[in-house]
């Protein structure tokens, strides 16, 4: 399952991130790598982007980028 499909308010574990251009590495540098805990806190009024809690901070990213992030239940 990808982060774009993750249920709201349920912490999940990142198992991998597929390459999708330069921005993938920036997401990884910001902590979105294997083993990170992520929780989808909500979506913007038009359904995109996503608002997530990543480790100790909050981040907003587009659904297209979230689709590159593989997750599994904790």
């Amino acid at each position: 399952m990808s982060l774009a499909q993750a249920p709201k308010l349920k912490p999940v574990l990142v198992t991998g991130i597929r390459s999708g251009g330069g921005m993938t590495y920036r997401l990884m540098e910001m902590g979105l790598i294997e083993g990170a805990r992520v929780e989808v806190l909500g979506r913007a009024p038009l359904g995109d982007p996503l608002h997530v809690r990543l480790n100790d901070y909050e981040l907003s990213l587009r659904a297209d980028d979230a689709a590159l992030v593989e997750i599994t239940d904790l």
């Binding site: 390459s19 251009g21 330069g22 921005m23 590495y25 920036r26 997401l27 990884m28 540098e29 910001m30 902590g31 790598i33 294997e34 806190l41 909500g42 979506r43 913007a44 009024p45 038009l46 359904g47 995109d48 982007p49 608002h51 809690r53 990543l54 480790n55 100790d56 901070y57 909050e58 981040l59 907003s60 990213l61 587009r62 980028d65």
Partner: protein
Amino acid sequence: MKTDESSLAPNPDTSLEADPGEILLTVALIGNPNTGKTSLFNSLTGFRRHVANYPGVTVETASGPIKNVEPAMLLVDLPGTYSLAAISPDEMVVNDALHGRIAGLSRPDVILAIVDASNLHRNLYLVSQLLDLKLPLVIAVNMIDVAAKRGIELDCELLSARLGLPVIPVIATRENTIAPLRNALHQATLKHGAAEAVELPNEIAGEMTSFREHNPGLSPPEALRIIMERGGYAEKQFIACGGDLEQINESRRRMKEAGIDGPRLEVQTRYAWIHKILDGAVTRPKKPLVTWTDRIDRVLTHRVWGAICLLGVLYVMFEALFRFAGVVMDQIDCAFAALGELVAGWLPAGAVQSLAADGLIGGVGGVLVFLPQILLLFAFIAMLEDCGYMARAAYMNDRIMRVLGLSGRSFIPLLSGFACSVPAILGTRAIADRRERFVTIMIIPFISCSARLPVYVLLISAVVPSVKYLGGWLSLQALIMLGMYLVGVVAAIPAAFMLHKAAPAGPKPNFILELPSYKMPRLRAIWRRMYFAGREFIVRAGTIILAVNLCVWALGYFPHSETTRAAVVTRAAEQGWERERHESELAGAYIRDSYLGAVGRAIEPVVEPIGWDWRIGMAVAASFPAREVVVASLGTIYNLGAETDESSHSLTNAIRNARHDETGEKIFTIPVALSVMIFFALCAQCSGALVVIARETGSWKWAAVSFTGMTTLAYFAAWGAATLARACGL
């Protein structure tokens, strides 16, 4: 954006003149965004901030001497960044500064890295890259109080021992907590040698070494960034300096053949190191405590309530910009008009009187009139940014802005354009991505600003019949007004697409944005933003806008010949005009016979296809420096004297009854009025905006593109609208 020659020289007035002999060492302040970097800078320097534009760098870099420290040190505040792998030019500035590649700014002797105590995990990523630089490094752990409230405990001594670096807990906003930091900076300057860097896997380290054998001038971290980021700024800079792309490709090929994804491996290695460093040094609650930010966000980023709150915030902002600033602007306008009359009374009639009253005082007033809106808009932007709401507004609007190929970050600047393009363009500085900032700057003038409103009001009330629909709920006049606002927005969409193609090459705007914790906005920070924005506008834009206004005054005043006067005097005597009629006819005759009038007649063949006569052409030409001038111009041309505003019934009537000289047909038919309004909606008739575009894009070329592009579009759209309206029998 490219910088042109004019901005390549450092600003003489902002260069550091604090005794060159006294400042010995340079300390670079670096950290992630939202870590309280500016607060720490202010506490260390005591708010002594010199803002400088260094050669080739459009990002402002602030620096100031550190208070109470030995030896004397200069603190340089670098833009916030998450990584040294630069994906934007602003991030490259950080790299350039750290490697001493910015002329006028020496290579730092010490690095002061600020990290957020609540979020060490991500913040240490940048620290792990800074270790590669082999420079003395001091770490300030900021907001330990906030971390404690969130149940996060840090063992700074253990961290210090593991990193081999001074790790100093601080609360940047409280100056009394930073004394140990001064001491650590002092100690850092005495020590030689640096802490141990993160050990990169052999595959990467080997490539770095062999790459440096070919390019001995590069340091290991420089070489690393060049091979790692495909199409990144380090690579571009290397090639621009004569580096060989084939060498980079060879390194990348070898890594690929070895089955490794270099950048991915680097990130994984660094995070593995961070885990080891933090293990046991940081304890945090099993489940994150619910913070005030979480509670506030439940409402402010809620899909329904959040949208309503955003509309509320925008409503308050617009009310303030239109109503409050509008009142002050009217007062400035009146004050300058009164001053002009006063001065005119002192001086003998003639060119000097007109120059002083209309040209100079009118021109200065025309510049200062923007000031209330600029200050107020910047107060709002600074407040929304400082408290953390700006990131939420960007988050909620990202999907809408994607239609323009932009991201949520350009939402507030574009919206501010409805008030005034000038502060809106200055407000794009909050957009980190250059390409996105460029496109946003260029489409802001398409948004109908408040100066277009008088034109719409005048022509709609004069020409459009007051028909009501749906039992009086909907009026044709209001619909046309709404249409005028939509014209600009609709035109901005294809313009944005074309500008994306013309933009200096760069990655497509993306949207990965940290949503920082909410905090109370600092009044001092807001005040500083207002002060600098206001000062810069007056100094830079003021001089040029004034010059343009003076030119148009001269064109409208000269030759001011005796023959013109004599003709009016004769006609006045023949027809027995009263004094008032006489004066307004004279003012009209002077402007008709002026060079500006000649311009109007010269462009008549151009505007004729739209159905305009030379008088409209001239009024339009006269309003190029500032479009709101057109109302006064029309007043003068139709002989109503200078005292005219859009609500004066006499002007509405004069517009309604104006007729062609020869045919006696009405000039302002519905097609003509529509076409004039559409022309004003789309045309770049604002010297202020053009000057600011040139300044913010770093090139007059883009101001010229904006001017010619929008004027051409406005002309054809006006012609199209007039033709269509005539075809519909209006």
